[in-house]
Assembly symmetry: C2
Homo-oligomer: 270 residues x 2
């Protein structure tokens, strides 16, 4: 199964939640901190508890790069723990000139073996293309992000009346000849989501921002359900992995994703 097929399959099973492994040594339960590799052990317990219910996992590179080369090894080891039928996204926001993007792509896809990556489009077409050459992968390009700073540039109005993020979506469609592009759209930007969802066509959508950042799972799902339009992942990081800071954290994470799935499935049945 290629990356897009993995996503479709999970969506068909009623699974839309992407578990964000933003694992922070400082935030994991105290009792884990004395063992050799607390971040890996935390990820192991979260993955074991949630993989039956998750649609995907997203590894936020910054949390691992903070630990240097050891962090990169933890990424490698964590990936081995994730069942192969689940999409795994490198949330790395990479992008550079062509000869450099090529090596970022080789790092994420060949060295680590991810199914998918997040990409920053600022530097334009030749910065994105080397990723797209991996035609069995799924490349999520930032359109409108979930953070307040999205207003600074992404929402600037261009001289033709459109917004920068809309120009990015337009470009993504042009670059999608291999059908391996997706977009990132903030779950916190509900109005813009409503106004722009038709322009996404069939592009898979990764929606961060539910939970700690204030986005609503229910509101986002409703919009996609009305449009009968799936191929989507709603990422939740802190809301699942730090739901509970006791030694029971993995069980609480499991309960939370089961609860979230049931909420989604209630909406789907309506």
């Amino acid at each position: 199964m290629n990356a897009s097929e993995k996503l479709k399959k999970k969506n068909e099973e009623g699974k839309f939640i992407c578990v964000g492994l933003d694992t922070d040594e400082e935030k994991i339960p105290q009792y884990l901190k004395s063992i050799t590799n607390p971040v890996l052990e935390f990820n192991k317990k979260i993955i074991e508890a949630t993989s039956e219910f998750a649609a995907a996992y997203k590894i936020n590179f910054a949390f691992y790069e903070k630990l240097g080369s050891k962090g990169f090894d933890i990424i490698t080891q964590s990936l081995k723990l994730i069942p192969k039928d689940l999409l795994v996204i490198a949330d790395a926001k990479r992008g550079d000139i062509g000869n450099t993007s090529k090596y970022y792509a080789e790092s994420v896809f060949n060295y680590f073996g991810f199914d998918s990556i997040t990409i920053n489009p600022y530097m334009g077409e030749d910065s994105v293309k080397p990723f797209l050459e991996f035609n069995d992968k799924l490349i999520f390009i930032l359109a409108l992000t979930s953070n307040p700073g999205a207003d600074d540039f992404e929402k600037l109005e261009l001289n033709d009346g459109s917004y920068l993020f809309q120009k990015v979506i337009e470009k993504v469609h042009q670059l999608n000849s291999e059908k391996n592009c997706g977009i990132v759209f903030g779950a916190t930007k509900l109005q813009e989501l409503q106004e722009n969802i038709d322009s996404f066509n069939n592009l898979p959508v990764l929606l961060p921002g539910v939970g700690a950042q204030g986005g609503s799972l229910e509101e986002v799902m409703k919009l996609f359900i009305i449009k009968k339009r799936f191929d989507l992942l709603i990422n939740i990081s802190r809301g699942i992995i730090y739901k509970d800071n006791s030694p029971n954290f993995a069980l609480s994470a499991k309960d939370e994703i089961i609860y979230l799935n049931s909420q989604v499935n209630k909406l789907l049945k309506k």
Copy 2:
């Protein structure tokens, strides 16, 4: 000395060339390939040969991430070889929501100990700010990049008649309360450089694109000299480190940077 002072000092010595360590296992001389750590050995020889003449070094993260955790270790080991009076830039093009950018900054500044980083501004103010909290560092924010794709978004015209990259420069000035911001401006974009150089004010400028990408050292230097405006680094990667593919590569790199410095100094004396 903080990062800005390091840059000023080197510029005062007539040194403006930043050596880009885009070290590629596939491109280094054949005879190195049989040793244990060819990339590190290559960097060692280049640094030893050029550090007397360079203004700075730039480490292009993609070339190391391609090698995974071993690549991160090569970055650490390469940094130890660079004399402490030289600015060292993490060319990583990072940027994410605040809590994530914070950890990218900790990785580059605390774990690796770089003086400086390149940052992608697409996600706006809160994605840039965590880097700026390191007030002894120098944060180079992408304005107009050297690649063809710069036309796709960076050069889009906004509804007020300005270009996106000009809006970025405006924002950089607003964020520069600690005087630790700089910008990246492609040496290949000579006309735009000429038209916008006055808007840079005192921001340090990192100019990639001379050499393999087609930018002219002479034309770029002339513009800055006319304006009596320094705090600048002209990055050259392939044009120095791959000048010669024989076992004499380090000597050739040294000759090349000495030649480039002499060209610059001829222009300065005019």
